[in-house]
Symmetry: C2
Subunit: 114 residues, 2 copies
């Protein structure tokens, strides 16, 4: 099918003959888990657009509670999806894993499909 072929060419050509390593699969499953929440996708989207933001800005922009944002950021930090930098009182967050952006773009494309 044409669409599928295009899809493949558009992303990656590393589908080899070898099965994926179990530890790689486990690691990726963890990263996907950390990604798989509407709030967290939203946070990543904002971070990707702005580059880097302090927590209170994310709270303001998303209108979610401070504890909720902080919890999501902690989860993504543990998974290596985002990185935190304290700047005096504030802690600025940014996306740390380019694959997160790849998947975000995948979602954005879906939003503009057809």
């Amino acid at each position: 099918m044409i669409y599928q072929y295009y899809e493949r060419m558009n992303t990656c050509t590393t589908k080899g003959a070898k099965a994926l390593r179990p530890d790689l699969l486990a690691g990726m499953a963890e990263a996907l888990q950390a990604l798989a929440h509407a709030d967290r996708l939203r946070i990543l989207d904002v971070l990707d657009r702005k580059g880097s933001l302090p927590v209170h800005e994310l709270v303001r922009v998303t209108a979610l509670g401070q504890a909720v944002i902080s919890g999501h950021l902690a989860r993504m930090r543990r998974a290596g999806l985002v990185r935190a930098d304290r700047k005096s009182r504030e802690v600025w967050y940014a996306i740390a894993n380019p694959h997160a952006v790849t998947i975000l773009d995948c979602i954005r494309r879906k939003g503009t499909e057809r």
Copy 2:
């Protein structure tokens, strides 16, 4: 950073000014959840390589229990990731959502990085 730029160009250029719609984010979070398990990624990888397989073949290839495979397939079916086709006694599964393959390729690339 060069790598990040390449990453973006290689996948999608639809990062617009508008925030992602909440229902789109919720749907994608669900799909990612359905994807986020080492066994399920493994199953999808096999399906992508072979195109389509009956359940007992997936059981044989992955060496996982029949109930486990069946459960994972049901979960992915509900999320629209795979499609099932009964052929007499067997039920053949195939990947139904091209985005799943995009993410798979993303993982494969990680497996061959550097």
